[in-house]
Structure formats: C-alpha cells, structure tokens
C-alpha cells in the first residue's frame, strides 16, 4: 500500500497562508504568555510545596481550602479528573516556611479528613515493617501467632495491595481478597487498624533558589543545544540551513509553550524533557528535507531553487507524514493512557509533533528560498531565481551541467 505516490503539491507556492498561520499561532502564544506574565511554571521552577493526596470521598475544593486556611499561604488545589487524586500545593517562597510546608499540609489534611483513629493504627500510612510490628502481639494474643518472616510477608502483601489501589484501602473487608489473610487474621487487622479515608501519595518541596537555578540551567541547556545543532548543520550543509532549521525548531517551541499557556498547563521538569524531545523530532524532519534538497541540487542542476525545494518536500512527504503519524500515534497513546504524571509530557509531544512536522515544510524550507531570493535581488537580478542563475545556494557547486532528472 502506498499513501503518497509521486505527489506534486505546490507547497511553496501556497506558502503565504501557512506562514500567516504560523505567525498568528506564534503571536497568539506570545500574547497568552505576555497576558499571563510568562509560562505557568510548576513548583520545580518557581519553588513551593506540593502534596499528592487521594481521598476516599473527595471533598470540595472549598472544604480543602477551609481545612488549610490560616496554616499555609497561597494555596492551590487542583482536582485531577478521572483520578481519585488531588494535588494540593502552595508557592510559599520563604525558605524557612518551606521546611515545614509539606508537613503542615499533610498534618492539617489528616486532622480534617483523616477520620476517627480511636487509638488504632492507620493502615493507609507507614510501611510493611511498621504494620508487621503493630500486628505481631495482637496476632499472638488472638491465637494466630506468626513467625517474623511470615508476618513480614503478610504485611508486605497488604501494603502491596494498597500500592496497586491508588495507595488507599477504603474498607478493611477489601483485604479478604489478599491471599493468606484468613478471617481470624482479618479480625485482628480490624481490631488493630483502621483505614483513614485519605492517603498521601507523594510530596514535592523545592526551594525558590533551586527552582530559579533549575530554570536557568534548563534554558541554558536548550540554548546551547540549539547552538550546537546550528553549528553542526552549518558544517554539514551551509550556514543558512542551520539558521533555517534552528528558526523552525524555535518556532515549534514557542508555539508549544504558547499552547501550554493557552490551556493553562504547568511547565515542570518533565515537560522540559518533552520540549527537548520535540526539538529532536522537529530537527529530524527538517534535516531529512534538507538532505533531499542537497541531493537534488547535485542532480537537478537546471532546476530553479523554488521548484527544486518543492520537489524535495514532495519526495520526502511520504516519509514525513508516515514518521510523524507513527510517532504521533505513540504520543497519543501516552496522552490517553499515560496517566497524570505523564500528562504534561505527552501533551507537549502531541502538540510538538504536529507543529514540528508542519514547520519543516512551511517554515524551514521557505527560509532557504527567501535567503536565496534575497541574495539574487542584491545582485540586481529578478527576485525569482531563473534556471540560468550561475549559482544556486547549494553546497559546493561547480560548473552547472545539465543532468537528467530522476523521477
């Protein structure tokens, strides 16, 4: 099966509407960024504290705020749709307050939503060792004594059960499905423990200094990486190719960042990894097209640059669409099934792949033509390159001789 056979779309002839679209998207992204005062950084970059909480019965955002009011400033509550999990965060910047911020959030939540302990042990906190310790004596008292090893195995089975159920045991009767947990043992577990209707699944605290540092380092790393690519491409092709490729990649990054801003999504360290990934993809697309242009410059020496570039884009179109489609498929799978932690990451990939594919055709290639036309016009020639132009802006061209076109 073949999707694109000898296509001949006039991409570059219709470049203006697409360049217009690019400009509109870039402008929209920049405006959104400007209106919101820069990207919405996650606590990785701005500093703050974040707690991942699973509630058995999700309280309203107002209830959570009420439970924490007066204890922690600048609170943010984020409900994750389709998940029992919530994120509760603050962007306190003060170093000293941050030392205890996550603990304060956790403690206040436990007080407000933790249920009645009645002196029992919370089975939704602590590890297997602790649980085993709590169960040992009561089990012996109830005539179901266990060796240390068996006891630890049992406790591990219980914590593993918890692990695969979002960290939350809602009802102790659920545990009857755990192998080895016979009714008498379950009775003891019920005597000794209770399931708090809230589980803390993770906390993150980043000091503002380290946040600023991570931000600076990430931006520098990306800029240096772009610079490195520019130099390499300039070395392999010509410097204008490097510039065109880097502008295209830059265009993709800005638009993706703009989309993050438009959808009010947070930029975290994982999102930065995704941005790096899309830089890689977009660069890949651009180089494949450029390689074809360079090859065609050698064999179609009579052709003017614009039709030649157009032909090259068409020749690589099948590969561009296939590759992008396939990677988009993977990214979509990640976006749909990848869960909450990977959500920002996969969102960036989905946007980036689409924009990146588009930019290698409609941004990188036109830049080559613009530059070429600019050089021609400086020589006082017509703006459009003519077939008899002595030098096409290709690499190391000697005297141009007629060569048969390859189909």
């Amino acid at each position: 099966m073949e999707l694109f056979k000898n296509t001949n779309f006039d991409f570059l002839g219709k470049k203006w509407p697409f360049i217009g679209l690019s400009l509109v998207l870039t402008a929209a992204g920049l405006v959104s960024l400007a209106v919101r005062g820069g990207p919405r950084y996650g606590i990785d970059f701005k500093g703050g504290a974040l707690v991942h909480v699973t509630f058995a019965q999700r309280p309203s955002v107002e209830q959570v705020r009420a439970a924490l009011s007066g204890k922690i400033p600048a609170l943010e509550v984020q409900e994750l749709s389709g998940k029992p999990e919530d994120l509760i965060g603050t962007d306190v910047q003060d170093d000293r307050a941050l030392q205890t911020a996550s603990q304060t959030i956790v403690d206040s939540l436990m007080t407000a939503f933790g249920g009645q302990a009645n002196g029992k042990y919370n089975i939704n906190a602590g590890d297997a060792n602790e649980l085993a310790e709590k169960l040992r004596d009561p089990l012996a008292a109830a005539n179901v004594p266990m060796s240390q090893q068996l006891l630890l195995e049992l406790a591990t089975k219980i914590t593993d059960y918890r692990k695969y159920h979002s960290g939350l045991i809602r009802n102790l009767d659920e545990l009857s499905s755990v192998p080895g947990l016979s009714p008498p043992i379950l009775n003891v577990v019920k005597q000794v423990t209770y399931p708090a209707p809230i589980a803390i699944n993770g906390t993150e605290v980043v000091g503002p200094k380290i946040g600023a540092e991570l931000q600076r380092k990430a931006i520098l790393a990306v800029l240096y990486a772009l610079g490195g690519m520019l130099v390499y491409i300039a070395f392999r092709f010509e410097w204008i190719y490097g510039v065109a490729a880097v502008i295209a990649v830059f265009h993709d990054t800005i638009i993706t960042l703009g989309l993050f801003s438009l959808f009010n999504k947070e930029i975290s360290l994982t999102v930065v990894a995704a941005l790096l990934t899309l830089v890689g993809y977009s660069m890949n697309d651009t180089i494949v097209t450029f390689d074809r242009i360079r090859e065609n410059l050698k064999i179609m020496r009579r052709e003017a640059l614009e039709p030649l570039v157009n032909k090259s884009v068409n020749q690589t179109l099948s590969r561009t669409v296939l590759t992008s489609g396939l990677t988009l498929l993977t990214a979509l799978a990640l976006f749909l099934f990848g869960g909450q932690v990977l959500n920002g990451f996969s969102f960036a990939l989905v946007c980036g792949i689409i924009v990146g594919t588009y930019s290698s055709v409609f941004v990188a290639s036109p830049i080559l033509i613009f530059w070429h036309n600019f050089l021609e016009s400086r020589k006082g020639r017509p703006a459009v390159a003519t077939p008899s132009a002595p030098k096409v802006n290709g690499p190391k061209e000697g005297v141009r001789r007629g060569t048969a076109k390859v189909k």
Partner: protein, 537 residues
C-alpha cells in the same frame, strides 16, 4: 549463502544474546527471571517510590564554631603570655556565601604588648592572617587554604554523620553524595529508596544530640528569673542556666557547670534497652580515657547532683550514688522509638553544621507504581499500533522493521543495565524519542527503496541504493541529536541529563539496528534466490 552474511548474522545473534544476558541473566525459573530483572534494571526514585532530599550545608556554622574555638584558645594563650586586651569578638556571617568572611576582632591590646600579641598569633594560630586595624586593635581573617580545608572537612564530616544516621535506621540502600553542581559546593543529595514519609529521617538529621554530663551547681528553680534573682542577676563564673525537658507542662531550671565532665565525643557506644517497669531508656558506654575521668569525678561527687544535657536541655538530673566508671543511662523516653533515636544520635554524633532543605521529593509507592503501569501500558499500546501499521503498510518488509525496532529496545535496556544507570521518567521520554527515530530510520530506508524500484531498478540494486542513500540522512539526523544531547548532558541538571544519556544510547543502538541489522535481514532474504523480481515492501 554468502560468507559475509553468515558473519553478520553471527554478530547480530551475539549482540542479542549479550543484551538478553545483561537484562535477565541466566534464569532457571520464572521467579529468578523476575529477580534478575529487578536486580539489573535500577528504577529511579520517581518510579520505584522513595524520598530525595537536597540540602544545603550551612558551612557558616562550622566557620563560626571554628572562630569560637580560636577565641577560646587565644584568650588562654594571651593569659599565659600576659598580653591584655579589652574585647575579643567574632562577626556573625549568616549566609552560606559569607562563610569564609569570618573575622575575629581583638580590641584594646596595649601598644607595648603589640609585638608579643603578634608573635602569639603568628606562632600558634597559623590558620589566620593578622591585620592591624590601628595601634591597639587587630583583626584575624581566615586564610584561603584553611577556609578550603575547613569547608572540605565539614562536608566530609556531614556526609559521614548523615550516612551513619541513615544506616542506623536500617535504610541500607540509601545514598548521600554531593549534588555535583559546580556552583553549589555545599549541597548534598540524599536518596532514600522506599521511604514514603521523610519526616522521621528529617527529624533525626536535625537533632543535634550534643550530649554533656555537667555538674549541677544549684537548683532546681521554677523559672529562669528565679534562678537569676538568687544570684543577684549575675551568673557565677563558668556556669550556665539550662531548662529541663518539659514533662506534663512542668519545666524547671538548673545552674550547671559550663565545661562538661563528659561530652558526646567521649561516647563509644549507645543503645536502647528496656529498664525497670518496662520503661525504655538509652544506655551509653564511654571511651577508656573518658571513663577514667568520669570515675575520678563521680568518686569525688557522691551525693551531689549531675545533669545529663542533650541539646542544651536537661534530660535528667540524678544524684550520684556511687562511683561510675564507663557506662551511663538516660531515662525518661516515652517510646522505644524515642530511646532508639537518641541512641542512634549519640552513636552517629551531631552534624558539624546545620542543614537547610532545598528540595524534597517523595514519591509514594502507589504513585510510582501508577507511573510504571501507565507508562508501560502506553508504551505497549504505541508499540503495537506502530508494529501493526508497519506490517500493513510495508508487508513482509514490515517484519524487518519490527524486528529492528524490538532489537533496538532490547539493546537500549541492556546498555542501561550494563552501565548501572537508573531508569527515570525523563529516561522513558528518551526511550520514546529513540523508538520514534528508529521507526523514522526504517521509513526513510523503505521509502527510498520504493523510489528506486519505481525508477526501474532491480530489487537487489534498489535495496542497496535505498540503504546507501538513506544512510547519509540517517547519520545527519542522528549526529545532530547526539550533538544536542552532549550539550544537554554538560549543562543540564539531573532529569535533563538522564534524558540525554538514554537518548544517546538509543541513537547508537538505532544506527546498528536500522542500518546494519535491517540490511542484513534483507540480504539474507534475497541471497537464497537466483532471480529476485519482486520485493514485498
């Protein structure tokens, strides 16, 4: 079959076997296979669950302590040599960056004693440079070499102490290391796999556990004011006031000696035991040298009170009933954990400088498990979709691409296992990009072969031309990405670095699979036949 195809196939089979061995070893059972997999593939804390702490060691604390020590010694030395002075003080650098700006000011040295003063400092305090502010006042600045040494020693000591404390809790897989950021020499990274709640660890690290055994000079008093009032508002020389640990809302004050009989450094061992009435207590054993001192002191002070002070709070103030030589006992712990923590802190010693937490990340086991499960599910879904499409679109040749794709994944994972690298979430991002580029390489080659076939070339020639023409493009795209990864690795921080490493390994594996392996499979398929007229592509 041609000989060089056999060699190529041999190489490929060998690589596959080495990789599989690196990932799962030589398992004899299913359990062993899983165990080997877990042993070889190190999951980062974001996937396995655990806690990561980045802390800044407040080096200025160590510098202040060093200056205080100098002041004490200098006072003694000056007394010995009959050099007078009016005041001696140090400045109070509060920021980490200002640690080496520590200064000691000595004011009011008589002009006639100037040279004697200078020689005391230059002979006995070579760590400092002396600066004459005017004819009576002097200033000491720490020497650069000495400051470097002090910083280094403080960091080493801090790391050692933290390690001892953490290991004391049985967290043996934990690690303490410098973060390695060039501009953050005082930063430490502590990783605690499997620890879902770092509060206990943090508390343990923060507790200084500076133990002293002091003589009680007077007391108890109900309040600090009462104690001061009794002594006319001025404390007797060489004494200080210390409160007891509040119990049941009650707290009393004692006047105790300033220089302790026994210090924390004199302790050889400590452990928690269950004493009378099943109360938990902490027993400690002194070093030989301290034991002799202790013996003399207790013998001379029978029926006097002593105070056991931990972190400037009196834990207990027992009456000495008999001569004690080398063991002591600290009672009053509410729980076993409290007694055990104190014992651990006494054994491990205190940190030479306080720490401030810059970053703290805890990933609960269920969150990590969710990430793995969801990442895995997404990966499999993506891989199946890609495979099905390749098989449908390129038919027989799609098998080729799929094989190369899977081999790429195997090599990548094996390389991570052999290098002992940890797999983190950004690392998975690197793997996804690798798979994307692997697919791309195959598509590039196949589309090229189709083009050549359309141009009328014979099958074998078309395959050869397809590979050789696509090779240049593949190399260009890969080298560009490797170049950018090099920069990400050099300038990036943790996660960005992890991404770069996985990606580079993946790209190298990809050149091998997409170019070498895939071509070999084509050659193998085509070599058997005399006349090849059609290619399933």
């Amino acid at each position: 079959m041609k000989r060089n195809i056999k060699i190529k196939i041999g190489i490929i089979v060998a690589v596959v076997l080495i990789c599989i061995y690196g990932i799962i070893g030589l398992p004899k059972s299913k359990d062993e296979l899983v165990a080997n997999w877990k042993k070889n593939i190190h999951l980062g804390l974001d996937l396995s669950g655990g806690t990561q702490l980045v802390m800044a060691v407040q080096l200025q604390d160590a510098f202040k302590a060093f200056a205080d020590n100098t002041i004490e010694r200098l006072k003694e030395e000056l007394k010995k040599d009959n050099v007078d002075y009016v005041t001696m003080d140090r400045n109070d650098p509060n920021k980490l960056e200002d640690a080496d700006k520590i200064q000691v000011d000595i004011k009011g040295v008589p002009v006639g004693k100037g040279s004697a003063f200078r020689s005391v400092v230059s002979d006995r305090f070579p760590e400092w440079t002396l600066l004459a502010v005017n004819s009576n006042d002097y200033r000491l600045n720490i020497k650069t070499t000495e400051a470097l040494k002090l910083k280094h020693d403080t960091m080493t000591q801090t790391m050692g102490t933290i390690e001892r404390k953490i290991n004391g809790l049985g967290l043996t897989e934990s690690s303490v290391q410098p973060t390695g950021r060039s501009d953050a020499e005082a930063e430490l990274l502590v990783q605690l796999p499997g620890v879902g709640d770092p509060a206990h660890v943090k508390q343990l690290l923060q507790t200084q556990a500076v133990l002293e055994w002091d003589e009680v000079k007077d007391g108890p008093f109900a309040t600090r004011e009462e104690a001061l009032a009794k002594h006319g508002g001025v404390l007797p020389l060489g004494t200080k006031l210390a409160p007891t640990v509040p119990r049941g809302g009650q707290q009393s004050w004692y006047l105790i000696s300033r220089s302790p009989v026994v210090r924390g450094t004199d302790i050889r061992d400590a452990h928690a035991t269950q004493g009378e009435l099943n109360h938990w207590e902490t027993n400690f054993v002194l070093t030989q040298e301290a034991a002799k001192r202790f013996e003399r002191y207790t013998e001379a002070n029978i029926n006097n009170r002593a105070a056991i002070v931990v972190d400037n709070q009196i834990i207990s103030a027992p009456t000495i009933q008999s001569r004690i030589s080398d063991t002591g006992r600290i009672t009053g712990a509410a729980t076993q954990e409290e007694a055990a923590d104190l014992a651990l802190n006494l054994r491990a010693g205190s940190l030479p400088a306080s720490v401030i937490y810059q970053e703290e990340r805890t990933v609960g086991p269920s969150l990590g498990a969710d990430s793995i499960r969801e990442g895995f599910r997404a990966g499999i879904a993506g891989l199946i979709a890609v495979t099905l499409f390749m098989l449908f679109y390129y038919r027989r040749s799609g098998i080729n691409a799929t094989l190369a794709l899977f081999l790429n994944a195997v090599i990548l994972i094996a390389a991570l296992a052999y290098a002992g690298a940890t797999l983190t979430l950004p690392g998975i991002a690197g793997i996804i990009l690798t798979i994307g580029m692997a697919v791309d390489s195959n598509v590039l080659v196949f589309e090229r072969i189709r083009e050549e076939l359309r141009a009328g070339k014979a099958v074998i020639a078309a395959v050869d031309a397809g590979f050789s023409k696509a090779l240049l493009t593949i190399i260009d795209t890969h080298v560009t990405t490797v170049v950018s990864c090099a920069f990400l690795f050099i300038f990036g921080t943790g996660p960005v670095k992890g991404f770069a490493v996985t990606l580079v390994i993946g790209l190298i594996a990809n050149i091998f699979t997409a170019v070498f392996v895939s071509k070999t499979i084509f050659d193998f398929e085509l070599s058997g036949k005399r006349q090849v007229t059609a290619l399933s592509i």
